[in-house]
């Protein structure tokens, strides 16, 4: 069973129940070697599943209430930077090792209201800072099919768990590519909505102006359904948008099994097809562009001239916001408070002993961010980056006058080896070179699997749509998926 529709049909026929499905997933998780999970909430999940079993029989006459609860009985994994009340949330950081949040994230609440069952919390790079999931205080996540490889990051646990069928779908978060990259490396669908589509309330912030929650699934249709359930304005997040949410699930379903690409204008940004892309990745993406053309899509070369500033702009903004967002982890109200901190001579020493528990990548970004915001440097760094960001947004606005979506590789390579880039932060940062621009511009973007390289490692194609253009994004993604 690969889609929610198939699961629901199995529930209807009685071949499967929410409880049997949940039990089976919990059993698989217990045996999995991937280190994809940090915390499981098995008892809670089984309780929810039992209730649904009862409800299915007594209230719904054995028929899944698809309209009211489009995710009825669907076991999910939740990235461990999203809070669920009283379920340990760590952000893969020692500093939050025993943290029990007093509330539940809006996105999770909406999924649960739609019938989904969270199985537990998925591993990630500490505070979502990383591209390989090697920066976790709970150890790296292993690639689902190649255990010597990374699953990509920061939503590495989510990518690996969905690919290895340890949950039916998962939530990731994407700041500069953290959903799309692991989706590409693991061979699943990953979608980052327009900034403001899904409430960030309950997402532990890394870089607030870039962070977005999104689904990681095995099909475009399921991604559409999950995104649709989570989207819409939230009174707890002032940056959430009241733009109407269309029925993306229905849009994808309506396309059927062999959708035509007729009328679709596909932009190919010249700046995303640079030297240094793995030739196998390049040819897989180019072959897919050819297929789209053959299916009736218009292929249009476009230019995003400020792309070359993307990585430096992104890292200035992201680290600045991160240094600010991570100030609250001070050991005063919650989280880790080591015994030696309590023996501090003064406040400064207390903070030092508490905050020494951040991992090296987090510390690096806090230091860089504080520097970029400090008096005398803010104008040259943070403020200049904010200006370049506006230029990049305009690049996209201009290019989207002539196309509906843009396509590119998600990353220059397929999944790399564990340890291959962890000694060289700059090389690691360049992994996100193609995903960062859409993040800076706040655009919806997706990774759709388009095949594997000669070593069997998945290759993902990135699709980018204009702001609030999720309908075209899902449509194009379904066309790519159906022709793969």
């Amino acid at each position: 069973m690969r889609t929610i529709r198939e699961i629901h049909d199995a529930f209807d026929s009685g071949r499967e129940t929410p409880l049997s499905l949940t039990e089976r997933y919990l059993g698989k998780i217990a045996k999995s070697p991937h280190n994809a999970w940090i915390t499981l909430c098995g008892e809670r999940a089984l309780r929810q599943a039992e209730e649904q079993n009862l409800k299915l029989k007594s209230k719904h006459g054995g028929r899944v209430p698809r309209e009211a609860e489009p995710l009825f009985g669907i076991p999910l994994g939740i990235k461990d930077n999203l809070v669920i009340e009283n379920i340990r949330t760590t952000c893969a950081s020692r500093i939050l090792d025993s943290y029990l949040p007093p509330y539940t994230a809006t996105a999770v609440l909406r999924l649960e209201t739609a019938g989904a069952i969270p199985l537990g919390k998925l591993n990630l790079d500490e505070f979502a800072m990383g591209s390989s999931n090697e920066n976790s205080a709970y150890g790296p996540v292993l690639h689902p099919t190649h255990p010597d490889r990374v699953p990509g990051g920061s939503s590495g646990g989510s990518g690996a768990a969905v690919a290895a069928d340890l949950c039916f779908a998962a939530l990731g978060t994407d700041t500069g590519g953290s959903i799309r990259l692991p989706a590409s490396f693991c061979g699943v669908v990953g979608m980052k909505p327009t900034y403001g589509r899904i409430s960030r309330y309950g997402q532990i912030a890394f870089a607030s102006s870039l962070d977005q929650i999104g689904p990681m699934t095995r099909s475009v249709e399921d991604a559409a359904v999950l995104a649709q359930v989570m989207s819409g304005v939230d009174s707890m997040d002032s940056t959430s948008s009241d733009q109407p949410v269309e029925d993306w699930g229905a849009i994808v379903r309506a396309l059927g099994d062999s959708p035509s690409a007729k009328g679709l204008r596909v932009g190919v940004p010249a700046e995303y097809f640079i030297d240094g892309i793995d030739p196998e990745v390049r040819s897989a993406i180019e072959a897919r562009i050819e297929t789209l053309h053959a299916q009736g899509a218009a292929i249009v070369p476009v230019s995003l001239p400020h792309t070359r500033f993307a990585v430096s702009t992104y890292y200035l903004i992201a680290v600045s916001e991160a240094s600010s967002n991570l100030s609250r982890f001070d050991g005063v109200r919650f989280g880790l408070r080591p015994a030696d901190a309590m023996r501090s001579g003064g406040l400064r020493e207390f903070y030092q002993k508490v905050r020494a528990n951040f991992g090296p990548e987090v510390k690096r970004r806090i230091i860089l961010g504080n520097f970029a915001l400090s008096s005398g440097y803010c104008e040259d760094y943070f403020q200049k980056a904010a200006k370049v960001r506006r230029l990049m947004r305009m690049d996209f606005e201009n290019a989207f006058r002539s196309v509906d979506v843009m396509v590119s590789p998600v990353a220059p390579t397929t999944a790399f080896r564990l340890g291959e880039k962890s000694k060289n932060p700059l090389q690691m940062y360049l992994t996100d070179i193609f995903t960062i621009p859409a993040s800076l511009a706040g655009l919806p973007a997706m990774s759709v699997p388009v095949g594997t390289d000669s070593g069997g490692l998945p290759i993902g194609m990135q699709l980018i749509a204009p702001r609030f253009g999720e309908s075209s994004l899902f449509r194009a993604a379904r066309i790519v998926e159906a022709n793969t």
């Binding site: 949040p101 509330y103 912030a205 600010s324 609250r328 803010c378």
Partner: protein, 499 residues
């Protein structure tokens, strides 16, 4: 070597002037906190001290991971009201910024404030100076910005605890230009500002609970100097009197430092009211780099001109407008009208009493309120609203005074009884025997006795020393038990002395 300060040579004979700018934190009287749903304001007669520690918090104001601020519209409305009342330009687009510093009472490690784009731009405030308020000066206001309050650290010998009940309570910070030159001007500015923010209903005005807190920037320079001296910030003084004393102390301290040949340090100092001195808290070098940047969790605050206009229309009469109306309508003097209009409660009380007693009684009522009533209230340190005085009682008393039923001395006694025990004015007058003697046949024998008992003064008066009349009036008033009508008394007394 000669000493120079603010670009000029100075010595012991130099006349210095003090340059003062004030930053006032006004707690807004909204029901909920500025970015979350917890209460910001205590109900009825509850006090902050009675509130259970950390009982009034929520995940947002406690800075839990993943929480986001959502702006309280009422706080914006109150800031705009204050801005309009202070003649400020209201910015239709303002931006919230994060101000970073580590301290346990700051749950997020930053305070949400406003930096380069505050809610209100320049405005001004007119203050009255001199015994009778005869001089006025305009003090420029640079800006008003919205921000959240911090929690409170409570220190014990070997540890500290944090109370977050106050964290996230909305504040506006009103920043003046360095336009004040004396402690008295600073005091007048604060009192006037206090009168305005309380009369327009944006602040409850409870000084003990820190509703209105002041930081003073103080420097001195030789009179005539163009530049400024090194400035010192005196933090968090919450009584008008103490602000004045702290400024006086600080100006003199700076003068002595300069004259001793030392240079002043730019620093933050605290005022110790018991010792009446300031002491250093931190120097500029120790100051934090706040690393301000626009808060990405809050979109820019956009206001429509129509909305601002609707706030302007609902603004109640301001103290200055009231003062002018009281002067025109009731013929009050500027100083007495200003006193009556300085507090919303006082002005309302006055107007109610005048409505009952008639406009002719306005001056009498104003005199009673600014005189004996104010004295009694100050003595016991209570507010007019908390006292037993009522507008009806005051109106009745003014009526008795007008009809010469009771003398001004008698009226004071009535007020004393009202203040201590309450009761009917006419009953008090009768019970205390304060009904004024306005009957010459009753007064004449009393005056005769006084003249007989004081032959020396009578002789002096007749020899041309007319000043002794005061003594004789006093003696007669005393002999009448304070009940004599002073005008009648004077008339009879003069007739008898000249006759």
């Amino acid at each position: 070597m000669s000493i120079r300060h603010a670009g000029m040579p100075v010595d012991v004979n130099t006349r210095f002037e003090t340059v003062i700018g004030l930053e006032v934190h006004v707690q807004l009287a909204t029901e909920s906190k500025i970015f979350s749903s917890s209460r910001a304001r205590l109900a009825g007669d509850q006090s902050v001290a009675d509130e259970a520690v950390n009982s009034n918090t929520d995940p947002v104001c406690a800075g839990h991971p993943g929480t986001l601020p959502v702006l309280n519209k009422k706080a914006v409305e109150y800031a705009v009201r204050a801005g309009i009342a202070l003649g400020c330009a209201i910015r239709l687009r303002s931006v919230f910024a994060r101000k970073h510093y580590f301290y346990p009472d700051s749950p997020k490690g930053y305070q949400i404030s406003q930096f380069d784009l505050p809610a209100c731009g320049p405005g001004q405030l007119e203050i009255e100076l001199g015994e009778e308020g005869e001089d006025s000066r305009t003090i420029r206001i640079e800006r008003i910005h919205l921000e959240e309050d911090a929690g409170k650290n409570v220190h014990f010998p070997s540890y500290s605890l944090v109370n977050l009940n106050r964290a996230g309570v909305p504040l506006i910070e009103i920043v003046s230009a360095p336009d004040m030159r004396t402690a008295a001007e600073a005091g007048a500015y604060l009192r006037k500002l206090y009168a305005i923010v309380t009369s327009i209903g944006v602040c409850d005005g409870n000084l003990e609970e820190g509703n209105f807190r002041c930081d003073a920037n103080v420097s001195i320079r030789p009179e005539g100097a163009q530049g400024f001296g090194t400035r010192v910030e005196i933090k968090n003084v919450n009584s008008f009197r103490f602000v004045e004393k702290a400024i006086e102390y600080e100006a003199e301290r700076q003068r002595q430092v300069i004259l001793s040949g030392d240079s002043l340090v730019q620093e933050t100092r605290l005022y110790d009211a018991q010792k009446n001195r300031t002491f250093s808290m931190r120097t500029k070098e120790e100051a934090e780099d706040y690393r301000y940047f626009p808060d990405p969790d809050l979109p820019p605050l956009e206001l429509s001109p129509d909305w601002v206009e609707s706030i302007r229309k609902t603004l109640p009469e301001l103290p200055d407008q009231k003062r002018d109306r009281f002067m025109q309508t009731f013929g009050l003097g500027r100083h007495e009208a200003a006193l009556i209009s300085s507090g919303a409660e006082t002005a309302r009380f006055f107007e109610e009493a005048v409505a009952l007693a008639g406009a002719g009684a306005a001056r009498t009522i104003a005199n009673l309120m600014n005189g004996e009533i104010l004295r009694l209230l100050n003595e016991e340190n209570i507010a007019l609203g908390e006292s037993r005085f009522t507008p009806a009682a005051l109106a009745a008393l003014a009526g008795f005074i007008a009809e010469k039923f009771v003398s001004s001395t008698g009226a004071k006694q009535v007020l004393g009884v009202l203040f201590r025990e309450g009761g009917e004015v006419s009953a008090i007058i009768d019970r205390e025997g304060l009904r004024q003697v306005s009957d010459s046949s009753a007064l004449e024998p009393v005056i005769d006795r006084v003249l007989e008992a004081n032959p020396k003064q009578v002789a002096e008066y007749r020899a041309g020393k007319e000043k002794v009349i005061g003594f004789l009036v006093g003696q007669t008033m005393k002999a009448s038990g304070g009940k004599a009508d002073p005008a009648l008394l004077q008339e009879i007394l003069l007739r008898k002395l000249k006759g």
